[in-house]
Amino acid sequence: MGGSGTMAGADTAGPGAAAFIELDGVEKVFDVRKKTGFLKRERRRVRAVDGLSFTVARGEMVGYIGPNGAGKSTTIKMLTGILTPSGGRLRVAGIDPSRERTRLAQRIGVVFGQRTTLWWDLPLIDSYRLMHRMYRIPDVRYRENLERCVELLQLGELLDVPVRQLSLGQRMRGDIAAALLHDPDVLYLDEPTIGLDVVSKAKVRGFLRDLNAERGTTVLLTTHDLQDIEQLCSRVMVIDHGRLVYDGPLAGLHEAGESERTLVVDLERELPPIEAPEPARVMRVEGPRQWLAFPASASAAGLVARIAAEYPLVDLSVREPDIESVIARMYAERTSA
């Protein structure tokens, strides 16, 4: 998480200056009224975010993941100042978002993948002209940034097309450009690749990677697409039931989720299950082929050598755990716990 080394820090002076985004015990409680009868209503308190604490340094690119309803979007909305936390302390660039929403708006860019900030009926360029006025971007800087976004996001031929005629991928690129024209220090992306095809996803990811590398823009990314995280983020935070259940490098998720790799072994003939050393075990036998599971953190070498020595081995392959099942297991464990 190398961002801390290049901290400017001047505008976030005071305690915790190294943190660009700072949450300390943040809570958000909603009162939900449910109809339980003809006139009866039941009031229920829902803790969408429940004592959330984390910091993000300037220039970091962090994945923020969790199942539906975990509190991801609520967090993003508090970070933009749209929602006021019910408790705890929250700062972005030293600003309390809900109290100084307008001042903070100049420093942040937001892309909600399922919503658009663009003017539906008008050519794309009209929305950008509006951003120019809204964020009071100096003319020179506006032109430079627009040119850059148009080039990198390949928007040149789309500028005069009404937004309603754009494909989803084109619209998403248009929305990302709209969020960046005022040079925000931090970019919140809520599902930026949702519904996009493979090519569009690759374009969006490539652009975000360059943006982070060249401009040092801090990026907080919520997504259901774990490839977004794998390809972009060195750090991932997992939230569930409004609490942080994991915060660290993506690789560490395997250990945290106790994930397993699979060794697939082809023997010369059908044999009883291999007597593998603990903790490896046979999961499945199908004719001469057997599947063994072993911890992702352990080396496969010893296991392979042992099997090769004791069994008539024809072929083998190792399958890496996929991160989705790791996280799915994490969610499941927390729900059953």
């Binding site: 979007s73 937001v110 399922q114 009209d126 509006l130 009071r136 009404p162």
Partner: protein, 268 residues
């Protein structure tokens, strides 16, 4: 509010204008509808004023003028609805309002600017032709003095402001009601009846007439019409309209801050 925000809201208004200008077929269909409605109402009024000359203090030419004014202002002042409020309610219902809220702009001013752009377009695009048609083919009572026309335009502007303020309140109700269809229907009926769209308000006798003429909706059609027809003093009319505009905009502002503070923004 500096020069910067002035330029922002000017850009929003220009966008509102151009958004409606995009839909030319819809505009042409609207012109046709307004003209047909105007014809139906004109013949109804002519029959009525034949039986009861000087009804409500209008002569026949004034009554006919009133009809075509109504058709000219119906879309521009969104007297029966059909302005920004449908879109704003939909954005509240779907949660797209989140996008509007994190912007460094004021929600009420933003929608006011957008609706002003729409109103100017619809006044030109949908108002002028039916009015010109009516003036050509029917006996109308139009003033000769430029000052009366100027006063009329001011009254139309103030009417548009009152109309916006009313519809802003209707739209914000979606924060609590989610489905605002009922509110829209109520606003539609109130708009048509209380503005004088069905019959000029000065026709209604007694207490009903007094009440309906004092309600904000009379700023939409009755007030500008009376200024144009020379039936009301411009200054008094302006004061009446401006008072309603200020009061309703202030209530809108209060409701807005209550809505954004304590209501959940829909959707993930």
């Amino acid at each position: 509010m500096g020069v910067g925000s002035g330029r922002l809201y000017a850009a929003v208004a220009a966008g509102g204008f151009r958004r409606y200008a995009t839909y030319r077929v819809a505009t042409a269909a609207g012109v046709f509808t307004n003209t047909v409605f105007g014809l139906i109402l004109v013949y109804t009024y002519l029959a009525l004023w034949d039986e009861r000359p000087q009804l409500g203090g209008y002569d026949q030419a004034q009554a006919v003028t009133f009809v075509w004014l109504g058709q000219a202002l119906l879309a521009a002042l969104a007297i029966g609805g059909g302005g920004f409020e449908d879109e704003l309610m939909e954005r509240i219902r779907t949660g797209d309002i989140a996008v509007d809220l994190y912007r460094p702009a004021d929600l009420q001013l933003w929608w006011l600017a957008a609706d002003a752009g729409r109103a100017v377009f619809q006044l030109l695009g949908r108002g002028v032709v039916p009015f010109a048609f009516g003036s050509l083919f029917f006996p109308v009572a139009l003033p000769r003095e430029v000052s009366t026309w100027a006063a009329f335009l001011v009254a139309v502007g103030l009417g548009a402001l009152v109309s916006f303020a009313l519809r802003y309140l209707v739209a914000l109700s979606a924060f609590w009601l989610m489905d605002g269809t009922g509110m829209l229907h109520m606003a539609w009926i109130a708009g048509l009846f209380c503005s004088g769209m069905l019959l000029p308000l000065n026709v209604f006798p007694g207490a009903l007439g007094e009440v309906v003429r004092a309600l904000p909706w009379s700023s939409l059609l009755q007030a500008p019409a009376d200024v144009l027809l020379g039936e009301a003093a411009p200054l008094g009319t302006f004061v009446f309209q401006a008072a309603w505009a200020v009061a309703l905009l202030a209530v809108g502002r209060l409701v807005q801050s209550a809505a954004t503070r304590r209501v959940v923004v829909q959707g993930g």
